[in-house]
């Protein structure tokens, strides 16, 4: 029994680089002390020594194992401190945990992705995997919304994707400036411009709770069946081990049974949004 690892003990990672994505969002590049493997959509518990621990889904490619990215929005006590970090600092990581995106379910499908704000972080990791398996997919459409053009993250990602045959991107902002030449309005408006082959399509949604809710409603309206809508749920995943109870969503522990669920799995649970 004693040879088992201590489930509460983090391993160490060194912060290599900080990339400013938007006024409130930064990407942190970490070098782990040992090879780090994760599946897209799984999450980690990141410890800022003596300050706290919080769950994040890596935003980099799972195919890279000697470093990984975490994209973080300044939203609370710990993320505020994270944003002040300089390269060289050592942090702790537990995980990866949870159930990520079921890539085998996406084979031979059209994938419609709806994302907003910092919700593009887990999606970027998924996109890297979808690029890797492009020849097994029909089409990938990324619909992304942010508050303003300045708040739009991964600005180069969209042009990179647009260069690929099977990828197509659309962006919208709540508040446009004079240079903005794309859509204006909340993220869900982009779904009005998408043409999907419903029997051969799945939808992936990741963003703020309000977008998740109305995005899902819109996808149902379009005709997506409950089991073809994949939602990455944001809850207070504290231990990551299915024990501490903070991320309970009805019968589920989001940290262990999720964070990726189909709408079919969670629609009958209370207070999902």
């Amino acid at each position: 029994m004693t040879e088992r690892a201590n489930i509460y003990a983090p391993f160490r990672v060194t912060l290599e680089k900080v990339i400013d994505e938007s006024p409130l969002i930064k990407t942190f590049v970490f070098v782990p002390e040992k090879e780090f493997r994760f599946k897209t959509g799984e999450f980690i518990e990141l410890t800022l020594d003596g300050v706290g621990e919080a769950p994040f889904t890596p935003s980099s490619s799972p195919l890279v194992t000697d470093r990984f990215d975490v994209t973080i929005m300044k939203a609370g006590y710990m993320t505020e401190k994270m944003h002040r970090l300089k390269p060289g600092v050592v942090l702790g990581v537990r995980g990866p945990y949870g159930r990520g995106y079921p890539l085998d379910q996406f084979i031979d499908k059209e994938i419609l992705i709806l994302s907003g704000g910092c919700g593009l972080a887990p999606i970027r990791s998924l996109l890297y995997m979808l690029i890797d398996m492009e020849d097994q997919l029909r089409k990938v459409v990324l619909c992304y919304g942010s508050k303003t053009p300045e708040d739009c993250v991964y600005k180069n990602l969209f042009s990179e994707l647009d260069r690929l045959d099977k990828f197509e991107t659309m962006r919208t902002v709540d508040y446009a400036d004079t240079h903005w030449g794309e859509h204006v309005g909340v993220a869900t408006v982009l779904l009005d411009h998408v043409k999907v082959d419903l029997p051969n399509a799945v939808a992936v949604v990741c963003g703020p709770p309000v977008m998740m809710k109305y995005g899902t409603m819109k996808l149902l309206e379009i005709g997506f069946p409950d089991h073809d809508i994949y939602l990455s749920m944001e809850k207070n995943m504290s231990c990551g081990l299915g024990k501490c109870g903070h991320c309970m969503m009805g019968r589920y522990f989001v940290c262990r049974d999720g964070p990726v669920f189909t709408y079919d799995e969670i629609k009958d649970q209370p207070d999902i949004w």
């Binding site: 509460y8 160490r12 300050v51 706290g52 919080a54 944001e234 024990k243 207070d271």
Partner: protein, 335 residues
């Protein structure tokens, strides 16, 4: 099935005094109108009360201390004996084990204590306020998860042995004092008391729905019912702290990447709040309802263990005088 042995009370006290030299022995002592575990030394051995219902502290507190540093190595414990554990608390270990000994992520701190601690169960010879174990298919006597059993009947001590660990302790006791072997059947006088107490608890809870009925009642109760019953709740979390099956905890960070595991309660404000401020259990009535959903719906659905043993401690502990059994009876009658 156990093996039953008998010895005189004085001989037992002498044996137990001997055991306190190289074991940490916890057993119930009387405190006012209730009883609770205390660390027993030679002078306290004769003050131990036997066959009393639930001690105020649930067994889980020995296995999951309220606050524990879970970064340091797993501490090596002095051998521990917990004596006088009622059947309800032993039954509760099924759910704690499912959580903390699970194959993928075992908690080494819990696992070590579970492996090392020797548990001596006891029959309840009377029922306490709010005891309702029989409503949930349990009995007022242990039927699992004990290494040994102890009962005091007519100034004679009955010991029973169930595990290898219990057998080893019995040998130590035999080294101190002779024991009389009585076979593997429950002694008749013990069985008589068991049935008497069982009937007493059943009679006290005739109107209470059983576990399956409670699940149904809780699932189907109108939301307004919870809103009305929560009026006296102050979110103190005493019901969770005192509950033998509540498992939730908070991980606290300390300098040096240390983690502290501290028992927590879903009744506290902010329990499920995320960094952006969203909180599915922000309203107190949702937290209140969540506790009942967890106990009677979510846990039994996910684990092969029940999440309420009918000990009734939460009713005693509630400073708002919320009586879970009255609430469930009312919801049943309304339905």
């Amino acid at each position: 099935m156990g093996k039953y042995y008998q010895l005189g009370k004085d001989a037992w006290d002498d044996a137990l005094s001997g055991l306190t030299c190289d074991h940490r022995v916890y057993a119930p002592l009387v405190h006012g109108e209730s009883q609770d575990y205390e660390l027993i030394d030679k002078d306290l051995v004769r003050k131990i009360v036997y066959n009393v219902p639930k001690p105020s502290t649930p067994l889980k507190i020995f296995l999951l201390p309220v606050k524990e540093n879970v970064s340091a190595g797993v501490p090596k414990n002095v051998p521990v004996i917990i004596l006088g554990v009622p059947g309800c608390d032993l039954f509760a270990l099924d759910l704690l084990d499912a959580f903390y000994l699970d194959e993928e992520y075992p908690d080494l701190y819990y696992a070590q204590r579970r492996q090392e601690f020797l548990l001596i169960g006891t029959d309840c010879h009377f029922s306490d306020a709010h005891c309702h174990c029989t409503s949930y298919g349990l009995n007022p006597y242990p039927s699992k998860n004990q290494d040994m059993g102890v009962s005091l009947i007519n100034d004679k001590v009955w010991l029973s042995v169930y595990t290898e660990k219990g057998g080893d302790l019995l040998k130590k006791i035999q080294d101190i004092t002779p024991l009389r072997f009585f076979g593997e059947d429950v002694p008749a006088e013990m069985e008589d008391i068991r049935q008497k107490v069982r009937k007493e608890i059943e009679a006290n809870n005739r109107r209470l729905p059983n576990y399956q009925e409670t699940t149904h009642v809780v699932m189907n109760a109108a939301y307004e019912k919870w809103e009305r019953h929560v009026e006296r709740c102050v979110s103190c979390g005493a019901c969770a702290a005192i509950c033998p099956t509540c498992t939730c905890f908070l991980l606290i960070d300390r300098q040096g990447f240390e983690k502290i595991r501290q028992l927590d309660a879903c009744q506290y404000p902010g329990f499920e709040r995320v960094a952006g401020g969203e909180d599915p259990l922000k309203k107190m009535d949702k937290r209140f309802r969540n506790r009942y959903f967890c106990k009677y719906l979510y846990r039994p659905e996910k684990y092969e263990a029940i999440a309420c043993t009918g000990c009734g401690r939460c009713i005693t502990a509630c400073i708002g005088d919320i009586n879970k059994n009255e609430l469930l009876t009312e919801l049943t009658n309304d339905g």
